[in-house]
């Protein structure tokens, strides 16, 4: 034994080196799949409509969905990838919370590869709608330079991969009614708008009376009903319009902030 230790053979060295071969950590394949974007990671975050999952990959946040028992199947059906529970990159953690809080992406990268370039443009415009306000499909279509595309805007909202972050709950029907919502149905849209102080009951009752725009006879300006300028008009100076042309014929001009015309 001592003799052997005193003069180890190269064969002994070879055998020791051979025993340095071990199995890779079991998490390695998953980490590689996350790092290459072959699978998306997801994390669960609280929101006004209950827990939601935020899915992400190296290109950005790819999906937001209700954290119910079906989210993994829905994700696979739409994106043809799997989801695994994972920590988002550390610099995205705060940005995800902020984006959900404010209802706009801010500095958080979004993976828009699941929509067309036109749909991406519409979604990016929707993300400019201020918290607590709403805009009709027709406004988004016009802002995108395609005034005739209100229907395409509606289907884009239904395809929004990242609801809450791109605030499609702030996009309403062209007749001023609240309309449908992809993240669990219209009651969630009401819930979110109430939470933001957009007063959906008020919006809906104005629309039900056939009123689309509100003006102030002191400023001669007309707005969408949810514009914060419109909400400051006192009852004595408030003018109600059924259409943009009616407002303009009455000598009013469109608000420069909410741009109703």
């Amino acid at each position: 034994m001592t003799a052997h230790l005193n003069s180890p053979s190269t064969a002994a060295v070879e055998s020791r080196l051979g025993s340095l071969r071990v199995a890779a950590p079991t998490s390695l394949l998953t980490e590689v799949e996350l790092g290459t974007g072959l699978v998306d990671g997801y994390t669960v975050v609280a929101s006004p409509v209950g827990d939601v999952i935020v899915a992400f990959n190296p290109s950005g946040v790819s999906a937001v969905d209700l954290a119910d028992e079906g989210f993994a199947d829905r994700f696979r059906a739409r994106f043809v990838r799997s989801l695994v529970a994972a920590e988002p990159p550390s610099i995205w953690v705060n940005r995800i919370e902020e984006a959900l809080d404010r209802g706009r992406p801010g500095l958080l990268p979004i993976d828009f590869r699941s929509v067309t370039p036109f749909q991406q443009r519409i979604l990016e415009l929707a993300a400019t709608i201020p918290r607590g306000q709403v805009r009709p499909y027709s406004w988004l279509a016009r802002s995108a330079g395609k005034p005739g595309a209100a229907r395409a805007v509606g289907s884009t909202m239904a395809r929004n991969p990242v609801p809450l972050i791109v605030p499609c709950h702030r996009v309403i029907r062209s007749d001023g009614k609240i309309g449908n919502y992809s993240l669990g149905g219209p009651e969630n849209k009401w819930e979110l708008l109430s939470f933001e102080g957009a007063e959906p009951d008020r919006i809906e009752s104005i629309a039900a009376a056939g009123i689309r725009l509100l003006g102030s006879d002191t400023t001669g300006v007309f707005c969408f009903p949810s514009c914060h300028q419109a909400r400051r008009i006192s009852e004595t100076h408030l003018r109600r319009f059924r259409s943009e042309s009616e407002a303009e014929l009455s000598g009013f001009r469109p608000c420069r902030i909410c741009r109703p015309g």
Partner: protein
């Protein structure tokens, strides 16, 4: 690995996890011996870089790849760059290599890591590929870009050096 290039060329995303499964133990073991505690990160990084490169390649180019040698080249470059960067930074406390459940009790992984560190980089690389991983001389030559004869003599020299180190220790 049989037919893997073909499958990667046909459907990279579907076949890539099989490439990881086929090589991850070899690659992790090699980087653990060569680089130490950061082996897990570097193994991941190797595969992620390989995927990104393959996703840019034409299918024909993927079919013709010497896949193993090609990936080993990526791993060895990452390992070498990592060690270089590390040597430029002062290290206050060097992390130890984590012991894994399949490490035999009688082998001191960290001691072997330091013994290997005392070999010249080129020798260390081929000794690890030959005797830790068990690659053939041809594959090692593909991975390192050296002639087979050079690989053989470097392996031989490295083993002799390690034998002497062991002898000096006892």
């Amino acid at each position: 690995m049989d037919g893997l290039c073909e499958r990667l060329a046909d459907d990279l995303d579907a076949a890539f996890p099989d490439l990881v499964r086929a090589l991850q133990d070899d690659m992790y073991s090699a980087l653990r011996s060569l680089v130490g505690p950061e082996a897990e990160d570097l193994t991941q990084e190797t595969f992620i870089r390989a995927y990104r490169a393959l996703s840019e390649y034409e299918p024909g180019r993927i079919r013709d790849l010497k896949l193993r040698g090609w990936i080993w080249t990526i791993a060895l470059n990452l390992g070498r760059n990592h060690l270089r960067a590390k040597s430029r930074r002062p290290v206050l406390v060097d992390r130890e290599i984590e012991i894994r459940s399949d490490d035999p009790d009688y082998v001191d992984v960290n001691a072997w890591h330091w013994r290997l560190q005392s070999l010249p980089p080129r020798t260390r690389r081929v000794v690890v590929l030959r005797h830790v991983v068990g690659l053939g001389y041809e594959e090692i030559a593909d991975a390192t870009g050296q002639a087979v004869g050079t690989v053989k003599s470097d392996v031989h020299r490295g083993l002799e050096k390690l034998r002497q180190i062991l002898e000096d220790e006892s």
